[in-house]
């Protein structure tokens, strides 16, 4: 009877905690590993979203931060009064820090009969001349960053769930990874190169362990980001099925707003309002001025604070009466302990507070996280290929599929990102739906890389795609030099470190991919390379470049 019972116990239970967790870790990592890789690549690029925005709009002048708020606001207000009269909302964004290098205006509900050019719109404004800043249409770094969680072609209802599940799998992967890593402290500094599968495991462990606090933070905060989407019942329990809007209004909208405009009245002057806000927050720390129902008796002026001085994303807000200029509400950034915690996690995730050096560390951690996902995916394939070759000598279809997806995604996606930057410079400036085609270029290139990976022997495909990625990134400064006057030398001479930094980073990434292509080529002796080209399954062993 006892023996019968033992036989009925699931193998996973009998195997012990570590082996069970190892199974969970392996399959949680593989199932959505390519999606996680995409999220890591685009998310890591997103830490320099504003810098990428600026590189992708070379027509824009240098950043216009550190201007007097009163003067900037007067210029923007004048522009809105002339271009968007009778609007329900005017939003003036002031160039306060790295996150907002230029002044901008946004309006909605403008009166076309009163002379408004459009009912709604937004523009960047040159604070030197008051003119609209003209630049090519592009999705810029924001588009690249938003792909990280919107996935671009899917609707929010799908992408939110996909991203949430992938993030949940990532968290499961991290926790199970810690459990199954028996020698997490003993092997803390251990990386053994040129030992095939062992090297991939070491690389995966090293990349995971040294960025573990970052990975835990980014994953947990990512789940908090998506919390209202994949845990809708939390809101519904308190506000009912239809009460989502009310919840958002209570938690995120400024207090004291009134829906009706009221009767016509003169808008309060902005200078005293700005002066009072700067007494609260300090000079130059106003991020935006949001005017609701300007020129009406129920008008409100909402000033928001910059968020570069704190980790939390939530901004302090001051709400003024739009006619008298009287301060109605002082709403601190964290309106409740729960919101304060959420703001801190979101702030840590986005890193908007980070000064340049910390931003580079975020980027570095993101790169290592990308490497962690990549090495995990590669290790899955390497381990099973070696096992398959020892037993049957044939690779199962599932393994072949994973290997092809690995090449086309791990090496192919970076080439696709480079294609996004190429498209920005090569597509005609007046092309309709230009920004959309930049993104299409990215995904079409990725598709091309996947097709290439499917058609070529795996080892060759790795080398060719890594070399393609190296070439694609190395060519970015050249294409920029041929298509704009702001070439790398010009950037050095003029001290334009945003442009220079972007292109030097592209060259740095190119050299990393070049080195990877080189090592993947030389990791096998010449005779075996020929063999590998003809019989990719035969090239199992090798050094760290044990990829075929």
């Amino acid at each position: 009877m006892a023996k019968e019972t033992d036989r009925n116990v699931a193998p996973a239970v009998k195997a012990g905690l570590r082996q069970t967790m190892s199974w969970v870790h392996t399959w949680a990592g593989l199932t959505l590993g390519w999606l996680l890789y995409f999220m890591f690549v685009t998310g890591t690029a997103g830490y320099f979203d504003t810098e990428i925005d600026r590189w992708m709009q070379p027509e824009l002048p240098p950043a216009q931060i550190n201007r007097a708020s009163t003067q900037s606001a007067a210029i923007l207000l004048g522009k809105l009064q002339s271009e968007a009269p009778g609007a329900e909302q005017w939003l003036l964004t002031l160039p306060a820090d790295r996150n907002q290098p230029f002044a901008g205006i946004y309006w909605r509900g403008a009166d076309l009969q009163a002379g408004a050019g459009a009912a709604s719109g937004n523009k960047l404004v040159d604070l030197n001349s008051g003119a609209t800043l003209q630049a090519r249409e592009t999705g810029g770094g924001q588009q690249l960053y938003q792909m990280h969680w919107l996935l671009h072609y899917t609707s929010r209802s799908y992408s939110d769930w996909l991203i949430s599940i992938a993030t949940l799998f990532m968290l499961v992967g991290l926790v199970t990874g810690v459990i199954i890593h028996k020698k997490i402290f003993k092997d803390f500094f251990t990386f053994r190169p040129n030992k095939g599968q062992r090297s991939w495991l070491d690389a995966h462990n090293v990349l995971s362990v040294i960025t573990l606090p970052f990975q835990l933070m980014i994953t947990y905060s990512g789940l908090i980001f998506m919390g209202f989407s994949f845990m809708p019942l939390i809101v519904a329990a308190q506000y009912g099925g239809e009460g989502r809007g009310q919840f958002y209004n209570e938690v995120f909208s400024p207090p004291g707003m009134i829906d009706a405009a009221g009767s016509p009245a003169r808008l309060a002057p902005l200078a005293p309002v700005i002066h009072l806000a700067e007494q609260y927050w300090g000079e130059g720390r106003i991020r935006s001025i949001d005017i609701r129902y300007p020129g009406f008796s129920n008008g409100r002026i909402v000033l928001s604070e910059t968020i570069d001085g704190t980790v939390a994303t939530g901004a302090g807000r001051l709400v003024f009466d739009g006619v008298t200029g009287e301060l109605l509400h002082n709403a601190p950034s964290g309106s409740s302990p729960a919101k304060r915690v959420r703001d801190v996690f979101l702030g840590l995730h986005e890193g908007l507070f980070a000064a340049p050096a910390i931003r580079w560390l975020y980027f570095f951690s993101g790169l290592l996280g990308t490497g962690m996902v990549a090495t995990g995916l590669i290790m899955w394939a390497v381990k099973r290929r070696q096992r398959a070759e020892r037993t049957s000598g044939r690779r199962p279809h599932g393994l072949v599929l994973v290997e092809k997806l690995n090449v086309g995604t791990i090496a192919g996606l970076p080439t696709a990102v480079a294609a996004y930057f190429w498209a920005n410079r090569l597509l005609p400036a007046d092309m309709p739906a230009r920004a959309d085609w930049e993104v299409h270029a990215l995904f079409l290139t990725w598709l091309l890389m996947l097709v290439h990976a499917a058609l070529r022997p795996t080892r060759r495909a790795w080398t060719e795609q890594l070399a393609a990625a190296a070439f694609a990134f190395a060519a970015i400064p050249l294409i920029n030099a041929l298509s704009t006057p702001r070439h790398l030398l010009h950037s050095f001479v003029s001290g334009d470190w945003v442009f220079a930094g972007f292109e030097l980073t592209a060259l740095g990434i190119a050299s990393l991919f070049g080195a990877a292509a080189w090592f993947s080529r030389i990791s096998l002796p010449a005779a075996r390379r020929v063999n590998a080209a003809d019989h990719p399954a035969a090239s199992a062993a090798g050094a760290m470049g044990d990829l075929s």
């Binding site: 003993k186 990386f191 090293v206 040294i210 960025t211 980790v311 000064a355």
Partner: protein
């Protein structure tokens, strides 16, 4: 050099020396057999230095940005130490000494700026 930049440089150097010390003290590719009797001291130095670096980080940038930056610094420093332990292990003792000395040297102007 501005005070925040100097504080970050001090953190990088001190954390690098702390983890170089841990690596030299451990049983791993970067450890040295002739440092066996120093292992306790190296580990002690590492923990004390990491604690001091946390104080510097918080003093320089506050609890939030300071500790967030320190986590990044630790990842960066460990990455360098692992690279050295793997490919240039003979440099590790020198890196430990130089980083510790340079880190201590940066504390002088930093302390002056804060006091």
């Amino acid at each position: 050099m501005s005070t925040p930049s100097l504080a970050l440089l001090a953190q990088c150097l001190l954390v690098l020396s702390a983890f170089a010390g841990f690596c030299l003290a451990g049983n791993n590719p970067g450890s040295h057999t002739n440092l066996v009797s120093w292992r306790g001291w190296l580990r002690g130095y590492g923990w004390i230095t990491l604690s001091a670096t946390a104080v510097i980080a918080v003093q320089a940038a506050g609890w939030g940005p300071g500790l967030a930056g320190l986590v990044g610094v630790v990842s960066f420093a460990v990455f360098i130490v692992i690279g050295l332990a793997t490919y240039r292990r003979q440099f590790l003792p020198r890196v430990f000494v130089i980083a510790a000395a340079a880190g201590a040297a940066t504390l002088v102007p930093l302390t002056r700026a804060w006091l």
